[in-house]
Amino acid sequence: MIATGQFLEILIGGLMSGVLYSLVALGFVLIFKASGVFNYAQGAMVLLAGLALVRTLDLLVVNGFPLWAAIVLGLGFAAAIMAATAWLIERFVIGPLVNQDGLTLFMSTIGVTFIIEGAAEMIFGSDVYPLRLFPTDAWFVFEELFPGGILINKLDVLGALIAGILVAGLAIFFQRTRTGRALRAVADDHLAAHSVGIPINWIWFVVWLVAGLVALVAATVWGTKLGVQFSITFLALKALPVLIIGGLTSIPGAIAGGLIVGAGEKIAEVYLGPSIGGGIEYWFAYVLALAVLLVRPQGLFGERIIERI
């Protein structure tokens, strides 16, 4: 019974962790889906959004603003920063590189990563800044069935709820709005979209803005979990296997990939780790990703690309 309880606890904890990875992975998917750019800077964007939020929040609270007002203004300021970032990236990086191949664009986002990291720490500081937007304690459920019950962290549950709302919102945005449809058109063929009057530069700005706002949402959850600090940028590395498994173009795939990675790595760490020295969850996620790549190169939910030769 103890073993069953432990397994369920690790499985649930892993699934919840995976959803938090998906929050970061969603930003990658959005940009890739709309522009074909693999945005390596997504982790840095989470850091920038988190720093802008927490530093503004701290400043306003110290100056006597009520907490709710500070949160609203902080979120507004951070969103404005992400909008400015989106504009700068579109104007000075992605725009001038239009029609370059995917590798060039990918390399440019690596450059953007370092610039965002440096600028964010330069402007907002490089300490650890606590962010307490959500509860971080836990529920213990099924205590009558399993000794000690099964632990479920409230922050993880909130993160899962937020991810669900985000996915639903993004699905509506892509399917039901004029801008969303334009985004899909640009993603399919930006030259054809341009020829029918879709303003490509505006669309790319919008998609980077949406990815920035998704980064802000991820920052609220991960900032509460870890404190806002440089290490948040490492979340990009946790999102990569999620993307490989879920597919670079699928929003539901980002969630499914997160669930598989989260559950897989936690179960592997606890049950397989001790027999081979432990510390395996980081690379085990990539083992899962490679296994999926071998069977389904476009990921479980990605679009199969067929090109006429």
Binding site: G125, L151, G227, F230, E265, K266, G278, G279
Partner: protein, 442 residues
């Protein structure tokens, strides 16, 4: 604006990957002292305050005293980002600078220490690893150029177990207990494991090492395993974000924070403040000193910060890692001063400074004279003992500040020394090193 200016300097340091932080001037009567630091990357939160303490103390020596007996310190900082390859690169770039080369090197990384140990001996440049590095390098007969001042990780492990025994009511109460080690999966985090295995065998407790992958942002599986295994104590050997994450995850699984004991690198302000009230009760070892202001800080304020030459915000002067940087810099300066007594008041080579390090002897009176009274106990280095002293205390975070909660512990040398002898002898055999005869050294 000061923040921005400092950050600009940091950014420039990172971008130039080791360019001059404190621009050196070329002069013949200057002693070159490099600082290997990390002000960027995931460990900057802990690396920056330490580097600030080191830089401020060197500045103090130049501003207040005009250098060491008239020989000014020529300082250059190199950014390693806590990466071993960058650390080695910094070392190679800086080792030959100044009129006599680097006086010593202090990498603030056990990984870099392992990578540099052979190189520094070949180059005859001492490597100071205060409170970190290779524990076997206490044996100066085999490691003439390594100086793990104040305490190795084996001393730390022993002190931690002494404290656990005291809390439980005696060493006999350790039998049958479970003690886990949550460690950074790196040379640093692995270093205490052999000693803890020795201690587990001696006292009969069940020891479980649990690795956490760099940088330590994700520890859910480790803490769920801890929740299931229910160890009596968890020792934390973390660095950077791993520490605060460990405290938060412990709170999330309702593991009592007062049953966690961090090593002295897991017991500074950035390790607990992100967790807020959840960190209350968390304990850590002290590398002798804690936080706070001592007479030396008054001099730093007067001669460094009053002149606008400080490295950080005045409010951060006196934090734990800042103080550790100051202590480390002071020991290096005093070693140069000691070497000058033998070799003359001039810039010295690394080999000459090594003699100063090996003959360093700071008694209470000298420590008081230097303004460090209350920060550290007397230290005496010798050929056979490059650690010098192995005393520590335990502090506890009350939610707002660290409070010292124990008397002094002294690591059990008779227990540790056989392990030092065994491991260093193996190193000597592997590297074909003929150990020095310490009886003949002076």
């Amino acid at each position: 604006m000061a923040n921005i200016a400092r950050s600009l300097a940091t950014l420039a340091t990172a971008m130039l990957s080791g360019a001059a932080f404190i621009a050196p001037a070329s002069a013949q009567n200057e002693q070159f002292v490099p600082i290997l630091s990390y002000r960027t990357g995931p460990y900057a939160v802990n690396g920056a305050p330490y580097a600030n303490g080191v830089a401020d103390y060197y500045n103090l020596i130049n501003e207040r005293d005009g250098g060491i007996t008239g020989v000014k310190l020529l300082v250059e900082e190199c950014e390693t980002a806590y990466a071993t390859d960058k650390g080695v690169e910094c070392y190679e770039r800086l080792k030959g600078k100044g009129p006599t080369g680097a006086a010593f090197i202090n990498p603030l990384s056990t990984g870099i220490t392992f990578a540099l140990t052979e190189k520094t001996e070949t180059d005859k440049i001492p490597i100071i690893t205060m409170g970190y590095g290779r524990a076997d390098s206490k044996n100066g007969a085999v490691f003439p150029y390594n100086f793990p001042f104040l305490g190795t990780y084996w001393s730390a492990a022993d002190i931690a177990i002494q404290h656990v025994a005291k809390e439980l009511g005696g060493f006999d109460k350790l039998k049958g207990r479970k003690i886990s080690l949550l460690y950074h999966d790196s040379p640093y985090g692995k270093e205490p494991i052999p000693m803890l295995q020795v201690l587990a065998k001696k006292y009969g407790f069940e020891f479980t090492p649990i690795p956490v992958t760099h940088p330590g942002v994700e520890q859910k599986s480790q803490w769920l395993a801890i929740r299931q295994n229910r160890p009596d104590y968890v020792l934390v050997w973390g660095w950077g974000v791993m520490n605060s994450t460990a405290v938060k995850e412990a709170a999330a699984v309702a593991y009592p924070r007062d049953k966690m004991i961090g090593v002295w690198w897991s017991g500074a302000e950035p390790d607990v403040t992100p967790a807020g009230d959840q960190a209350a009760g968390y304990k850590s070892l002290m590398l002798q000193h804690g936080a706070g202001q001592f007479p030396v800080h008054a001099d730093v304020a007067k001669y460094v910060y009053a002149k606008g030459k400080g490295s950080t915000e005045p409010g951060k002067v006196g934090e734990i890692l800042y103080n550790r940087g100051i202590v480390n810099a002071m020991l290096g300066v005093e070693a140069i001063r000691k070497a000058q007594e033998k070799f003359g008041q001039k810039p010295l080579t690394g080999e000459q400074v090594r003699w100063g390090l090996e003959n360093l002897n700071l008694n209470d009176a000298r420590i008081k004279e230097l303004g460090f009274e209350g920060m550290l106990k007397p230290i005496r280095i010798s050929c056979s003992d490059h650690e010098g002293t192995r005393d520590g205390r335990v502090q506890q975070w009350d939610g707002k500040s660290w409070k010292v909660i124990s008397d002094w512990y002294t690591a059990d040398e008779p227990l540790i020394d056989p392990l030092v002898a065994e491991v260093s002898a193996k190193y000597a055999a592997d590297k074909k090193i003929k150990p020095r005869d310490c009886a003949k050294e002076s």
